[in-house]
Subunit: 277 residues, 4 copies
C-alpha cells in the first residue's frame, strides 16, 4: 500500500538547544520512500544518523532561540511480509541471532525481570509463536483501559500492571515486557498509523519470531498494515519523536496519514502476521 | 473451641533497646483468656498498652544488653460469631460508623488509592457482601504464589500485584488493599493459627461487613475458626509481633497452637463467616 | 492572636456521593472557636465525628446530584504554647506515651522504614530536640524545590527524596518521614495559614517533643504562629479537606485567613517553638 | 601493566539451559590479550559474539543437565590512556558522535530522567569535565554506604538514592545516572579489579569525555589502572557475567587477578584520568 504521511512540530526555543528528531519514515527494504521532504524553519543545519539495524533515522539540530518549526512530508510504499500467524514460531534462546539478544533484557520502561512470574502464569501455557504474542495483546486490550492523561513520561510497565490504564506507549511497553519475560525478543516501534483516530504519532511493538520482527498493536486502534514505521528501540527512551537538550517550549503538533490510491478506506485491520523488517 | 497457644522469642541485646511486643492473645468478648503467662528473662519491668477498639495488647520493655528471652503461654476460649456468608452485607460508606472510616484509607503497605481501577474491574460486578471478599481471597489464592523468601519487610501490595509472590503478610496486604479500593473497611490481623504448617505467627485480615469485623485468610493455609487473634492495625506496621528500637539480634523463635479437648483434629477449615469482634 | 478564616468548596455532584469534609478549625484548649458557621447548599443533613486526640472535626454528608456548595467561616483565638526551642527535648522511645507510638510507624506517604539510613547520616549527629527537627525543615527547604504541579496525590516521601520537588504536602511528608526514622513521633497537620500567598489550605507537620506536639513548616511559606489547625493524621490520607466516595466534579475553591485586630501585619514568622496541642 | 586474571563458575544444570557468559577480558587496542584459555566442562560447543564498539565478548552455550564448570585464565597487557584530569572536557550534546547518544538515555537501573533535578542542584555548578565526574564519584562514596546484602538484582539508582546503601553495581548505576542527567554519556563496565579485596567481579562505569570513555569507580575499592575490562553496556542488564535461560543452580565462583612483573604491589590507586577505549 502507498501512504502519504506528514507531521509538523512547533517549538519556541528559549536558549540554544539541541534537538534529536525522529519523525522521518524508516528506510527499509519493504518500506520504500518514494518522495519526502523535511523542512526546518529557520533552516538550521542538520546532522543525520541512521540505525542500520532498525532503520531509524535521527536528525540532530542545534537550534537558536526563537520560533522553530519542523515539517515533514513523505510518500511511502509499504510492502509488508504478510503471513498466516499460525505458521510463525518462536525461536529458542539458543537459536536467536546474537545481535538480537539485547532485546531480551529489561529496559527503563520494561522491567521484564519483575513480571516473569505473571507472564509465565498467564501466557506460559499458550502455544508459543505469533498467536501467543497476539494473546498478550488481547490480554492487555482487555485488562488495561486506554485513558488519555492517565500516565506520563515516567510511567513504566511495572506501574501499568498495577494501575491498569495508559496510552499507546504504555500498551507497547507492557507488551514488550511480557514478551521479554517469556524469552521473546521485543522492541518499541513508533510510526504513522493509518486509521488512528484522532491522528497522532503511534506506538506499537515488534516481537522477533521465526527470524523476523513482527508488528503488534495492543491498543487495537489502528490497522497494522497501515503502520508507516519511524523508529525502533528498546523502549520509548530510544524512539522519541523529539528529545530536546536545552530549553524549548512545545507549542503545537499535527500528524497525518492517508492511503494513496486504491479503495483502502474499506479495508479492515489485518489479522495476519505482518512485518516490515 | 479451646486452644493452647505458646510463643518463644530469643534475642541478643547489644545495647539498651526498647521492645514493643505484641504476642499476647487479644482479650475480646468472644475470645476469652482462661489462663496465661508471660515471662521475660531477665525479668525487665513491662508497661502495658491495650488498643480498646481492636483488643491488641502491647507490652513495652526497656531491655539491657545480654540475652533476652520472651515466653508466652495461654489457654483461650474462642467463641466466634458464625454466620451464613450470604446473609452478610456491605455497608454503604454513608452508613459506616465514623470511627471505622480510617480503615478505608491507604496505608504504608496497602496503596488502595492505586489499585482502584483493577479492583473495580475484577471485583466490581460481584455481588457485594461477605461473598465478594471471599472472591477477593480466592483471586489472591489463585493468582499469587505463596513462596517463602520471595518478599521482605518492605514489600507492599503494589509490589505483590506485579510480582505475584509473597507470604501471609503480603496476601493479607493485598486483600486489605482490594477491599479498601472497593470501599470496604479492612484491617490487618495477626494471630496464632491452628493447623498452620509449619507453625508460625500468621497474618490474615478482617473486613468490616454488616457491622462486624469478619476474618479472611487469602492464603487458605489455616482454619479460620482456629485463629487466636493477637493484634490488628492498618497494616503490618501496626501489628508486628516485635518492634525494636535499638540494637538487638534476633536469635530464635518458636510458635505453637493446639486445640484442647474435643475431636478437633478432624475438623475442616470453616466456610462460614466468622468473627471475634 | 485572633483570626478570621473562611473556605468555600464547590462541586457538581454527578451521582449520589458521600463527602467526608475536614475544613472546620479544630477545637482545642489553645485554639478556641469564637464564632463559626458552616453552610451547605443544598442543606444536606450532616453527621459529625471528632477525633478526641487531635481535635480534627469531620463531617459526613450524603449528597444528591446537582451543584453542591460548602462554605465555612470562623473566628478563632489561637493561644499557642510558645517556648525557647533549645529547651525542648526529644523523649526516648521508652518514655513516650503509649498512644503516641503509632506516629513512629511508617504510613502510606511516609516510608520511614526506608529512609532511616539517610536520616541517621544527615541528622543523626545533630543535638536531639526541637532544633534537630528545625534542622530537618531547613534541609528540606534547601534541598527540595517548591514547584506547583511537580507532584500529585500519589507522590510519597520516597519519591520526593529522589525528585527533589513538591508542594506543601510533600514537604510535610518528608519532614514526618525523617522524624519517624529518627524515632521522633510525627504527624501531618492541615490548616488555614496566615500570610500564605496565594491563600490555600496549607499542610505542615507536628513532631512530638517534650510531651507536646510542636508545629513545623518545612516550606517556610507562612508564619507558624498564624496556623489555624484543621486536621491531623498519620499523613495526608487521614487529613484531606475532602474525601469523596462517588462521582463529583470539583468546580472551584477559595480559602482565606486574616488576623483580626492588633498590628499583626508587621509580625515576622516566629522562630519560637509553638504548639496548639 | 600486565595482569593475570582468572575466574571459575560452577553450576548444577537442572534442565537444558542457555548460558550467555561474559567473563573474558575485552579485546581492545589498549588492552591486549597475551594468552588466554576458556574451558568448559563438559565441553559444550560455544558461539561467540563480540560487541564491536565496546569490545565485550559474549559466549552462548547450550548446556545439558548435570554439573557445569566454566574456567577462564588470561594474561592481559593494559596500556591505558593516562592524562591529567583537568585537561579533559565534556562535549556539548550537539558535538557528541551520534552513536554515543544512546548512552544519554535512561535504562532499567539508571532512571536519569528522574534524578535530573538533584543532579543539577548538586553537580550543576561544578566545572564541567573529568573533575566533575570525579566529584560525582566522591559524592557517592561519601553519601552511600557500601554494605554487602543491602541491595539485590532489582535495585535501581532510584532506590539507591533513597536507601543510601549498595554494592559496586549500585554505585556504578548511580554514577551513570547522575552523568546522564547532566548530559554526559555514561555506561556500565564490568571487570577484573586488581587490589579489590575480597576478589570478585567488579562493576565500575565509564563516562564519555573529550572523545573517549574514561573509567570511574565510585566505590574507591580498587586501583583503576588495574581494571581489566570485561563487558560494557547501558547498565548491569547488558553486562552480567552470566545470564541463564533455563534452570541452573549456582554452586560456586572464584575470581582472581595479579599484577605480573614489576613492583606493582606498592602502587597507589591512580588519580589520573584513565581509559582503555
Amino acid at each position: 500500500m502507498r501512504f502519504a504521511v506528514r507531521s509538523s512540530l512547533e517549538y519556541d526555543v528559549k536558549s540554544p538547544a539541541v534537538f534529536i528528531l525522529n519523525v522521518e519514515a524508516a528506510a527499509l527494504r519493504r518500506q520504500r520512500i518514494i518522495v519526502e521532504s523535511l523542512s526546518l524553519n529557520p533552516a538550521f543545519p542538520i546532522e543525520r544518523f541512521a540505525d542500520d539495524e532498525g532503520g531509524s533515522r535521527f536528525i540532530r539540530v542545534n537550534a537558536s532561540p526563537g520560533p522553530f518549526h519542523v515539517s515533514y512530508h513523505a510518500v511511502v510504499d509499504v510492502d509488508m511480509i504478510d503471513k498466516a500467524p499460525e505458521s510463525i514460531q518462536e525461536l529458542p534462546v539458543g537459536d536467536l541471532p546474537l545481535d538480537i539478544m539485547p532485546y531480551l533484557y529489561p529496559s527503563r520502561f520494561c522491567q521484564s525481570d519483575l513480571l516473569g512470574r505473571f507472564a509465565c502464569r498467564e501466557f506460559g501455557e499458550i502455544e508459543p509463536g505469533h498467536t501467543r504474542v497476539t494473546a498478550i495483546c488481547n490480554w492487555i486490550h482487555e485488562h488495561v483501559d486506554y485513558v488519555r492523561g492517565s500516565s506520563n513520561s515516567q510511567t513504566s510497565a511495572y506501574d501499568t500492571m498495577v494501575m491498569r490504564a495508559g496510552v499507546c506507549r504504555d500498551f507497547a511497553h507492557l507488551g514488550i515486557t511480557f514478551c521479554r519475560a517469556l524469552n521473546i525478543p521485543a522492541r518499541f516501534a513508533s510510526g504513522y498509523a493509518w486509521q488512528l483516530d484522532p491522528p497522532d504519532f503511534h506506538a506499537v511493538f515488534e516481537a522477533y519470531l521465526g527470524g523476523q520482527w513482527y508488528l503488534f498493536d495492543a491498543t487495537q486502534q489502528a490497522a497494522l498494515q497501515g503502520l508507516v514505521r519511524i523508529g525502533v528501540g528498546r523502549d520509548a527512551s530510544d524512539a522519541a519523536f523529539a528529545t530536546i537538550y536545552g530549553d524549548a517550549e512545545f507549542k503545537d503538533m499535527s500528524v497525518g496519514i492517508n492511503a494513496v490510491g486504491g479503495d483502502a478506506e474499506n479495508e479492515e485491520p489485518t489479522t495476519r502476521a505482518v512485518s516490515v523488517a
